[in-house]
Amino acid sequence: MNTFIPPFDFQKVLVSPWTTDLASYGWIALMGFFVATACGLVGNYLILRRMALVGDAISHSVLPGLVVAYLLAGTRHSTVMFVGALAAGLLTTVLIELIHKKSRVKQDAAIGITFSSLFAIGVILISHFASKVDLDQECVLYGEIGNISLDVPYVQLGSLVLGPPTLVRMAVVTLVVVLLITIFYKELLVSSFDPALAFSLGINATLVHYSLMSMLSVVVVSAFESVGAILVIAMLILPGATASLISHRLPVIFVLTVLHAALSAVLGVHLALWLECSIAGAMVVMAAVLFVLAWIFSPTQGLLRRWLRMRQPVEPPAVAARQKS
């Protein structure tokens, strides 16, 4: 067991990533932060709309989109991948709606059927064209964030070195997500909380729905190669769920989401250094630890708070007292 859990080396785990190895681990933590922020912000809306598992579905079903786009275009250029993933993501949403609306199969079963079928098609395509496709199904499922710092040459803007290309792309996606959420804040808010009001205000709910799904597909595919499909789900749900345990106001939730993303990225790097395990996995584990902390210690509805409230003696209601006298 000693080799399984390595001894805790203070210098290696806590100091080196900030000093000697900042060049590589800095990029990794930053990448994790961007992925978690972009996913978390979009994920907030998924949680509000009770579509958390649609994120799960889309993150699996972009796989055939990627493969088909690759086979058709013959390149792994990011634009091609984006288009493929976007098409697959929208197809998933349409199929889920179709099955759910046109038959008596419930939405959850429709989600399960759709994403697993599409994923199966993707896996079959990959293994059938294994010689031609430079995609690895396992890489898609749990991509490795540690590889990103190796991407050279770094993107440069004038004389300013911006960073590895993957990171720059993710940063751009995150910025676009933040921008879109800021611009369409009202539309997203109203249509998520009160579809009837949205309809009366003239907001096209279908358009908002599909725009959100497109945004989700883009975020998922750009986060893919660093954290993989399943950890994308974690990044989609964990920050938003944690934040919503602490606050009920959407702007506060957004700030908390970003904070959660930053914390889990940095802590994840440390954990991975200690246990020598998958960095993306460690980031999610830390994100989950933060969730559990919020679950227990949340000032409004934490387990501790509930427990304390239950222990308080129940005072007799005032109305009853007055009646007695």
Partner: protein
């Protein structure tokens, strides 16, 4: 549907249950035979057998000479049956994605089971995975009960967190110098061809166990699935049944991991059951159908993957199941969209026919003679349509023997059946208008639209009741006569057979 399932559970439940009990027992015995028959030999990778022609491969498949074929086939079919049966319950309980969450949540259990004695011991992995899966369901329950987070969020949370822990553990295992690690990553995608006799025996045990448990506790599972409130009021231990189902589910998922992998297990749980759900309203039938679909998907998947190199078994099984679902989705007699479309179309055509008949009646009525035929031009003017359209509708009427066409197809004569139907529609329309103005006090100029819709669906009994309430009135609110029964009969009496008459309208 709900009522139906309730009904099956009442009086005749005892004999129905016994019948399905014996049938399920037979099935179980058959399965045990099927599983124990293959001699223990070493499994080869199916994909390594490539490079031969498809027909040759198919022959080899059907002769069952390769032990690997026997194992893969037996394994896939067993897991198809188990997943189909258990999946039925989670689909009707609207917890389809619990399977998905569970299948990801077992991963750390698999890793810990491996760590137990550093080998791919099926039993240790089985126990570890089951514990992890159960822990996952308990966590989902806890989160939904103690926070305001909804079930989908809780499922996603647990799924992703457990999976991440599993990934961390797996990468830590990969780093270890000792132990036979090969094959542990196969749990992610599954490899049916790598299943050995030990795996098959475990699968058989789980399959028989779930069949026995479902048979014994059929009533309990049924009631708690469809009416949890009634179940707990009647004293069923709903919590225990829930966790019992989850335990079986965890078993099924763990055995299925070998063949289809973490990601696609949920498909084997959901898809066959959802297909069965589209085809029947009875739980017992749904269980049978789901088991058969699962078995079919397993057999088809392993067969197709045997045909060519580089065809993974798990995804092919899933696609086979999806194909079954697509067929059920399109062609299910009750719920299929093809049938529904067909029904809608025939209903639309009937309404169209009836409207044409009504227009013919109106033309006849406006002449005050009730005689002669109605020319296509008159019909077209009445319906504000082109002559061609009117001709098409007249032809449609003739096809249904409601009218005959004369003098180069220019004049329409209603047959007795046509006349009767036309009278009935007009009568429905006017009775309804009168009823709305009299009983519901709606203004006379507002009732036409509603009557236009309802005239096609009023049944005989309702019409009798309307007449009685309106005291057999003879004129509608617009002052036009309501065709009486006698008038309808007049047409019917004009000829014996609808086809050979020149139709009502000839003055006699």
């Amino acid at each position: 549907m709900f009522m139906n399932l309730q009904a099956t559970n009442h009086a005749p439940a005892s004999w129905r249950k016994r019948r399905s009990t014996t049938a399920l027992q037979n099935l179980a015995a058959l399965l045990i035979l099927l599983v124990l028959s293959p001699a223990s030999a070493h499994a080869a990778k199916i994909s390594e057998l490539g490079d031969t022609s498809i027909i040759e491969q198919a022959l080899r498949f059907f002769t069952f000479q390769d032990p690997s074929v026997r194992y893969a086939l037996a394994g896939s079919m067993l897991l198809g049956i188990t997943c189909g049966l258990l999946g039925s319950f989670i689909v009707v309980r609207k917890m389809a994605l619990v399977g998905d969450a569970l299948s990801h949540a077992v991963l750390p259990g698999v890793a810990i089971g491996f760590l137990w004695n550093m080998s791919k011991d099926p039993v240790a992995i089985f126990i570890g995975a089951t514990i992890a899966g159960l822990l996952g369901t308990v966590m989902v329950r806890l989160i939904t009960q103690t926070t305001h987070l909804k079930e989908d969020t809780a499922l996603g949370l647990v799924l992703a967190t457990f999976f991440a822990v599993g990934i961390c553990l797996l990468t830590m295992i990969q780093r270890l110098p000792t132990g036979n690690k090969s094959g542990i990553d196969k749990f992610l995608f599954g490899q049916a061809a790598a299943m050995g006799p030990g795996d098959i025996q475990l699968m058989a045990v789980v399959t028989v166990l779930s069949i026995v448990v479902i048979t014994l506790f059929y009533k309990e599972f049924l009631v708690t699935s469809f009416d949890p409130g009634f179940a707990s009021a009647a004293g069923f231990p709903t919590q225990m049944i829930h966790y019992g189902l989850m335990l079986l589910l965890a078993f099924a998922i763990v055995i299925a991991l070998q063949a289809v992998g973490v990601v696609l297990v949920s498909a084997m749980l959901i898809t066959p059951a959802a297909s069965a759900y589209l085809l029947t309203d009875r739980m017992s039938r749904m269980l049978w159908l789901a088991a058969i679909f699962g078995l079919l998907a397993g057999a088809l998947g392993s067969f197709v993957s045997f045909l060519g190199p580089n065809l993974p078994t798990g995804p092919l099984m899933v696609l086979a199941a999806t194909t079954v679902f697509a067929l059920a989705f399109l062609f299910s007699p009750q719920h299929g969209i093809a049938n529904r479309w067909w029904r809608q179309r025939s209903r639309a055509k009937r309404v169209q026919r009836e409207n044409t008949l009504k227009s013919v009646y109106h033309v006849l009525e406006s002449r005050h003679t009730m005689g002669e035929g109605v020319s296509l031009r008159e019909l077209a003017e009445r319906r504000r349509e082109t002559i061609e359209e009117a001709a098409r509708q007249a032809a449609e009427l003739r096809r249904h023997e409601l009218a005959t066409l004369h003098e180069e197809g220019d004049l329409i004569f209603l047959t007795p059946a046509g006349w009767q139907l036309a009278c009935a529609i007009v009568r429905n329309h006017r009775l309804w208008e009168l009823y709305l103005t009299n009983a519901a006090q709606i203004a006379a100029d507002h009732v036409h639209e509603d009557a236009e819709k309802i005239e096609h669906v009023l049944g005989d009994e309702v019409v009798r009741e309307l007449e009685r309430r309106l005291q057999y009135a003879t004129t509608d609110p617009h002052g036009r006569p309501i065709p009486s029964l006698a008038e309808m009969q007049r047409g019917a009496g004009a000829a014996d057979k609808p086809g050979d008459s020149i139709g009502y309208g000839k003055r006699t």
